[in-house]
């Protein structure tokens, strides 16, 4: 049984985002693997080790966007595939889900597909469920631990607001992983050497045997949030009690509480 892990390449979290002419720009900031996806790669590598299968890392993006895939290869993934086609520009989540599902279907004997919790740029967090839906597989989202996994099925813990929920399903299945799963490993030097030398195959729509899916959502407008005005004030007073009282009054006056 093989495993696929889907990763997105996103601007570094330290990047300064701005909107220029209706387009989002992150300036010169480097593109990196979506931080949440490192947890998914970690989970995929651990489970492949337990089960003895191989891990294919998959990303949809521009032809030049291989940094995230290389990072995942350096962490230990066996294969990497970039899905890229000029016709995919402007794809929304529904389109992305169809394309990723078609790519997953091309990988041999897939039992599990791992996703991160969400992409730190577009932030919808819906893609795992959407891909599962297209594939017709169960979606186990926001998974913090995998309690059981064998050829017949999987049992996981989901972190939900009210606590933990234990869910089980048959395979193949789609799993999105959260931070509690465990710290992702660093790339190893051996992995780095392999990744640096790897040429990553690019699958265009032709290879996937599909047409560019048409988006169902449009972005009529993108705006930068209004600048927040921050003012700092140091509260002084003769005694801690006096300072605390003044602070409490201010908080009440500002209707913070």
């Amino acid at each position: 049984m093989n495993i696929v892990v889907c990763v997105k390449q996103v601007p570094d979290s330290a990047a300064q985002l701005s909107v220029e002419g209706g387009q989002i720009s992150w300036g010169e900031a480097p593109l990196v693997i979506n931080p949440w996806d490192e947890y998914a790669v970690e989970a995929a590598l651990q489970k492949a080790k337990d089960l003895g299968g191989s891990v294919t890392v998959l990303s949809m993006g521009k032809e030049s966007e291989t940094e995230a895939l290389k990072h995942a290869l350096a962490m230990g993934c066996n294969e990497a595939v970039l899905v890229s086609d000029p016709a995919l520009a402007g794809s929304d989540n529904v389109a992305a889900a169809r394309v990723l599902a078609a790519a997953i279907a091309k990988v041999d004997d897939v039992g599990l597909v791992f996703f991160g919790k969400q992409a730190i740029d577009s932030d919808t967090g819906t893609l795992p469920a959407q891909v599962a839906r297209v594939l017709g597989w169960p979606a186990l989202t926001l998974v913090s631990a995998i309690d059981e996994l064998n050829a017949d099925g999987i049992k996981v813990e989901r972190a939900i607001e009210e606590g933990r929920q234990v869910v089980q399903s048959g395979l193949p299945a789609v799993v999105s992983v959260i931070k509690d799963y465990g710290e992702p490993r660093y790339p190893s030097f051996m992995g780095i050497r392999k990744a640096a030398r790897a040429t990553i195959p690019v699958w265009a729509l032709g290879e996937l045997g599909i047409e560019a899916p048409s988006p169902v959502v449009a972005w009529p407008e993108v705006m930068a949030p209004p600048q927040r005005e921050i003012a700092t004030e140091i509260i002084t007073g003769g005694s801690p009690a006096e300072i605390a009282a003044t602070l409490a009054d201010k908080i009440m006056a500002e209707k913070v509480l």
Binding site: K70, Y186, F189, I192, R193
Partner: protein, 397 residues
Amino acid sequence: MNFGLTEEQRMVQKMVRDFSQKEVAPIIQEYDRKQEMAPFILPRMGELGILGICIPEKYSGAGMDYISLGLACEELEAVDTTLRVVMSVHTGLCSMTLWQWGSEEQKQKFLVPLARGDKIGAGAFTEPGAGSDFANIQTTGKRDGEDYILNGEKMWISLASNADYALVTVRTQKDTGKSSGELTSFIVDLSTPGVTRGDIHGKLGVRAGSTGWINFQDVRVPVANRIGEEGEGFKVTMSAFDNGRYTVAAGATGLIRAALEASVNYANERKAFGKPIAQHQLIQSKIAHMALNYEAAQLLYLKAGWMKNEGQRNTKETSAAKWFATEKSFEAANEAIQIHGAYGFSDEYNVERYLRNARGAVIYEGSNEIQQLIQASYALGERQDKALRMEMPAYEE
């Protein structure tokens, strides 16, 4: 000419940065105060392959190039000097010298476990009575059948109390008229009877790491552990310095960067006379110098690293890189404290640690006076590199 890093080098840089920033930065001040090395550091660096970073895979190393070694040292010392010191002595002085001068048998026996990080190595050259004047060391090695018997004391040895092996250079002959030709190097297993060692306390810097003494009393070292021929010890040791100094240069570059980053952050936050101090020109001047010196120090070590990759002799370039980077790292740390005002004088901020740590590197791996003598003797035509019997191998992918 290409000034860019390769994809592989950038990945190494990021990996070592992530390790040092995530795992070491949060705890280093505490260990510096306690004057102890955090126990996880050496095993973790071994497990991640950092200790054998530039040793070929054939000897269980990570097989990266010399520039990657430099980049790793820069990242490590940007967090704490003690991390880079590990690279200087374990990797630079001990492992790389074994790789250059050792026999195939010695490499299998000693280099392989060092590259894996299963064993820790040190370089023991300095003595209580001889540092810069290295040819004048007094520890003796007397041939006795298939052994040499070592007697004497080495002082100021980094990782003295952590190391399993040490590359040790001793005097095996006397009164031949050429002191440097009387020295011989050995790889010594420090668990051999007659070896005692301990740490020096009350150091100004590198407090989160071990610096100590190693005493040899009738220590039997097999001839099979001799690195190079009898009388080649001076050359072997100078080769060790060509590599150790490179790691010091790259590390000190990282310390300049850390001082610069701390200064920029603080100068943007702290206000005086109605504006952030970053907007006062005298503060800008300090920051400008740090930024310039960082660039220059980096170029110097990268050039030396490139020469190493090409298999070119780089004694002159490595010495220049070490001299410049260590001098400028001390200056940068000092100015960073100035920018932090009184807060910089307290260990609540990192910059006072940077200063204490930067101070040592001006002395060790050849004091900066010695580096100046080296530069002058090259410039005056008094010194030319002669081919060595065993050269450091060029990098092979």
